[in-house]
């Protein structure tokens, strides 16, 4: 069994940061070739280093939280309301074009509209099952993209 490695302060690195602007007073966490990233909170950290650090932290959090469901009310809720409406329009539209009788079947337009309500409400209700707002947006956005491609193909080829 490995004993936990004690924290060893790394000798300040006198080279340049990945941006190449300032000498990087780094703690040795990330190194790309002979360049390093500014330490968090370093007074003269450049924007590039800060952004890169933020991204790495975000990804690390994502990896650590993998498998956990987050609340993320705004992300999931907005995906449910907006992507839900989009999906309702697109799927009801696909039904209108491809369903029995096609677009001009007598009296079909009302049912086409009524279909939107269960789809929209269903997506809003179930969008909180996604693990995060980002995933909700990606999945529902992807479904929207597919459905709208299909719908515009119908409009293009069938009309």
């Amino acid at each position: 069994m490995l004993a936990p490695t004690p924290y060893r302060p790394v000798k300040p690195y006198e080279g340049r940061c990945i941006h190449g602007a300032e000498p990087a007073a780094v703690d040795g966490a990330f190194q790309f070739g002979n360049r390093r990233i500014h330490r968090t909170g370093s007074a003269h950290a450049c924007l590039h280093c800060r952004a890169l650090r933020g991204l790495i932290a975000f990804m690390a959090e994502g990896v650590l939280n993998m498998g956990k469901t987050r609340y993320d009310w705004f992300g999931k809720g907005s995906a449910g309301v907006l992507c839900g409406l989009g999906l309702a329009v697109a799927v009801s539209g696909l039904f209108a074009w491809l369903g029995p009788g096609g677009l001009y079947a007598p009296n079909k337009f009302q049912l086409n509209m009524w279909l939107m309500s269960p789809i929209w409400l269903g997506v809003i209700s179930f969008c909180f099952l996604f693990r995060s707002g980002l995933r909700a947006w990606l999945w529902l956005g992807g479904a929207n993209a597919l459905a709208f491609v299909g719908l515009y193909a119908c409009r293009h080829f069938l009309s």
């Binding site: 498998g67 956990k68 469901t69 609340y71 409406l85 329009v89 697109a90 009801s92 539209g93 209108a96 074009w97 029995p100 009788g101 677009l103 001009y104 079947a105 007598p106 009296n107 079909k108 337009f109 009302q110 049912l111 086409n112 509209m113 009524w114 939107m116 309500s117 269960p118 929209w120 409400l121 269903g122 809003i124 209700s125 179930f126 909180f128 099952l129 719908l151 409009r155 009309s159």
Partner: protein, 527 residues
Amino acid sequence: MRTEVIRIYKTVHTWAGILTGLVLFIAFYAGAITVFKEPLERWIAPPNHSIRAPLTQMHELITQTLSARPDAGKEFTLHLGDEEHVPARLTWQKKTDGDVFWSTAIAQDGSLQIARIHPSGLARFVDMIHRTGGIPGNSEIGEHFMGVVAMLYGVALISGLIVLLPSLARNFLALRLGTKLKRIWLDAHNLIGVASFPFHLVMALSAVVFAFHDHLYDIQDAVVYAGKLKPIMKADSPFSAVKQDPQPAAMLPPDMLLARVKSLSPAFEPVMMQYRDAGTRGASVRVSGNDPRYMLRGKGFLVMSPVSGEILNTDYFPGRQDLWNAPVSAIFALHFASFGGDTVRWCYFFLGLAGAFLFYSGNRLWIETRSRDGRDKSAVQRRSTRFMAALTVGVCFGCISGISLTIVAGKWLHGHVADVDAWHKGIYYAVFLGSIAWAFLRDSQKAAVELLFLAAATTAAIPLTTLLAWVLPSLGMWVNDSPAAIGVDVVALAGALALLRMMRYRARNNVGNRYPLPVGEGWGEGI
């Protein structure tokens, strides 16, 4: 994963529920009454001495009316029923003069009587409360508001089911009375919620469409139909076969037209005939009526030409709705209870009241979960708990009292004030807002008992008014003695007794003051 999902959906359910519960209570209570809109109209209808011409005389009535008042020919209605709330055989409405209704009848000496009539707006007002949650002003604003509420309501329904699913088998039929107060409310809430889930799902889905259908059509027109929806709608209109033609033409008598409808479907009971462009070659008549064997949008109807007698459209006629119309009509019927006759209407009445109770119990549950221990009399409740406790009591019981009193006032004020409809509104809002104010000014525990008494008293006033009108005719009030009108009194009496029982239950269970105001702190401060 599983417990996390349930935790998330519990929060969703709580928020969606607490934001919409009280509005939904109003909508469901008023909706349950609206199921019996016609009996309410019959109860309130003042005595009507206009002569109801027999069917065979109606043709003459139309001819005389059209020659005396050509402006009525644009659109008028023949009422075929003889119930109290039917104002006259023939009526028309002028929207340009601000919703003025006119009626005609043939007097005994054969002359035509033309009169302005004032049908009671009571049942329409209760329906308006149902559709808008009682938001005053432009009903479109209220309906859009209700649409948003309905969406949250749908989310609350699904999330509630998700939360309950893992323990459904254990908790569904468990009603653990006598244990903790919170447990009782939770069990009752779960039982009613699960048992009437399909009913509520239909209500949520249809209410969203009723609120937003114009916008949904606009979106679909742009995205799906590429701007071609208007001509499609026009072609599918039940009046699409009617071509305008101003040339004068003689019309067939109504009884002959009704005979043709009867030959199409003997079980169809026609209720009214709405004429358009009467006396011209392009005239049309829409014959509406009931057939409890089919699911209809309120009433079923067909369109025919009164000139040729030809039936032009049966898309909305019971038993003749096509593949696409029938399912849409079914959703309407599942919302309006317009199928299966009185049996279904009674079911919907009780489902509606149970729905109102569902939302009330949800709020009580929210309050009980957050209230601090009742045994410690000095325990001070959180501001949010006290606020919701007072609001729940004020809104729910204020709505019941307001509707009951406005019904009663319809008879007491008739003939004493110029505009009874305005009084209906004023009385409802005065009682409703007054009850809320009362619940906030007083301790909500005490206010609950007092407001329940007010609700019971105002509801009992409905049959008492009828009794008084019967015993003392000098009061100038009237009694409609049809079973439907008396039924309103019987239901109101039963409702009053139920409210009285609830009041006694509440009074008995108010152990200690569980939502006390801290000394020196009123509601006006710091909210």
